[in-house]
């Protein structure tokens, strides 16, 4: 009789919704390990690249304007000056001068003044 691929071995079926219809199917590994989206937050400064903190220009409680230099991140042989994306106050500084930061680390948090 026919060999139906679906019934050959035990398959763990999942449900996928497309346009309100629930389909019985399986997921690929790539789909299961996909990155979830998170809304970018202006007040949180994450490292976009791993590197070393060369210099910090601000301290907690200090007011800053949009475009002010916050700190310098040395990465890929470049000194990256990180500037404030907004007008506000420095709420928290999470790193020290000379510290190595990895990618995606929360380095500084701002608040609305």
């Amino acid at each position: 009789m026919k060999k139906n691929g679906c019934n050959d071995k035990k398959i763990r079926y999942k449900s996928l919704y497309v346009d309100g219809i629930k389909y019985r199917t399986t997921f690929s590994r790539k789909y299961e390990t996909r990155k979830y989206y998170s809304r970018p937050e202006k007040t949180k400064i994450y490292s976009f690249i791993p590197g070393t903190i060369l210099k910090i220009d601000v301290s907690e409680g200090q007011c800053v304007n949009k475009g002010d230099s916050l700190f310098v991140l040395d990465a890929m042989k470049m000194e990256n000056v990180i500037i404030s994306p907004m007008e506000g106050v420095i709420k928290k500084v999470y790193m020290k001068v000379g510290e190595r930061v990895s990618k995606g680390m929360l380095m500084m948090e701002l608040g609305y003044s």
């Binding site: 691929g5 389909y23 199917t25 997921f27 690249i49 990618k103």
Partner: protein
Amino acid sequence: MGLKRKILELHKKREEVLKGGGDKAIEKQAAMGKMTARERIISLCDPDSFHEYDLFVEHEARDFDMDKKILHGDGVIIGTGTIYGKPVCIFAQDFTVAGGSLGLMHARKITKIMDHALKMKVPLIGINDSGGARIQEGVNSLAGYGEIFFRNTLSSGVIPQISVILGPCAGGAVYSPALTDFVFVVDKISKMFITGPEVIRTVLGEEISMEDLGGARVHSEITGNAHFFSKSEIECFDQIKKLVSFIPRNNMGKAKKFAPKEPRPEYRISDIVPGDPKQPYDVRDVIRAIADDSDFFEIQELWAANIVIGFGRMNGDTIGFVANQPLVLAGVLDVDSSDKAARFIRYCNAFNIPIITLVDLPGYLPGIDQEHAGVIRHGAKVLYAYSEATVPKMTVILRKAYGGGYIAMSSRHLRADFVFAWPTAEIAVMGPEGAANIIFRKEIMSAEDPEKMRKQKVKEYKEKFANPYVAAARGYVDSVIEPEETRKLLLHAIELSVNKSVFLPQKKHGIPPF
């Protein structure tokens, strides 16, 4: 001094060079579980068919004491041979000689055989096993790579180009395989990346093994850079031979015709596809129920498995199959599956291989990651590839064909030559649930029992639109057929298309949404 002595001298010279990097290096190669370059060529070609060129080439480097070093054949073997009697040009990098590193003469040998392949219009097979650029030769080795890439591009779509990764292939070197048609990798042996684990560690501080970064599995399952995965070199060579049997020698001819064979009786086409469009099945079984001898040679089996591509035969002629796979991600189109299908369609078109498309998809994969990854531009590739393809295009709509997915999958509107639909086909602007919710929103919301009303409206919509007859009434579908008739009608369509000709507007080339 007689002829005999001269011949003996030749034998001695040959013997010396054929040792490659010497016994120690060969032992090391074996310890890594790898065959030598020469063993690989012998395994791949028909017995006694390989003829080597440029055996006595010597390297050019004079700096860094390189002039005192002898590198036999400069680390690469080139020549011609046959596979199933079909001539091919081959180069194989010899890791036992200076790590297969690429210098000026090494590159010149490769480009020589590439030029030869293009001139003679025969397939080119490149076996890559190299540590990369020969640093001592500086910019000359970069020039060598550039000359190879240029020829890969020039030959693209003219002769089949096959890359076999049987060792490291890193940095700029990986761009040659990337420019070729098919890339073969072997588990635990193939390694491909632009920047290796060492650089990633020092620059980014991220730790990853070579295998996890660019091993055979990664490229077969995650990146899609590889087309064929195997567990051993021998299995890999068998795959190459099988592929060669399916493709033509060049873009001016057709693939070799084989003796026609009926599909095997265990694949019963009427028993494979469930009537409920929400239930999965393996679409490869449908292909096997249609193709000669139920033989389907799948390409990129592990990557973007929600679409299936590969070769089979119909009445002995090679056919390219493209099919949505309801078994994985409900068979949706997404970034990866669009890339996979579009490239294959363009391959078939370039090499005169008719395309059979089996349609069963709910649409595009919803998701922020998909939208941000550019599913618009990637999805557009499928439309582009089908629209520009002038080879015979046969479409069979098995079940769902909703919305943009319907248009993309070789619809009449993109100039499919034959569009057949099974009675189970649902050709509609979207699935019944979604459509009913929009069209009858007011009635549903204002009903006493909205859920009951919704169900009733979905049922109404299903009866009216979830079928092949609305599309058939406009001629978008040529005929609604019984599953059992599929092979017969496809054979008829192929037969009818033998002299198909299409006139396209003149252009240098289009601008596909790469």
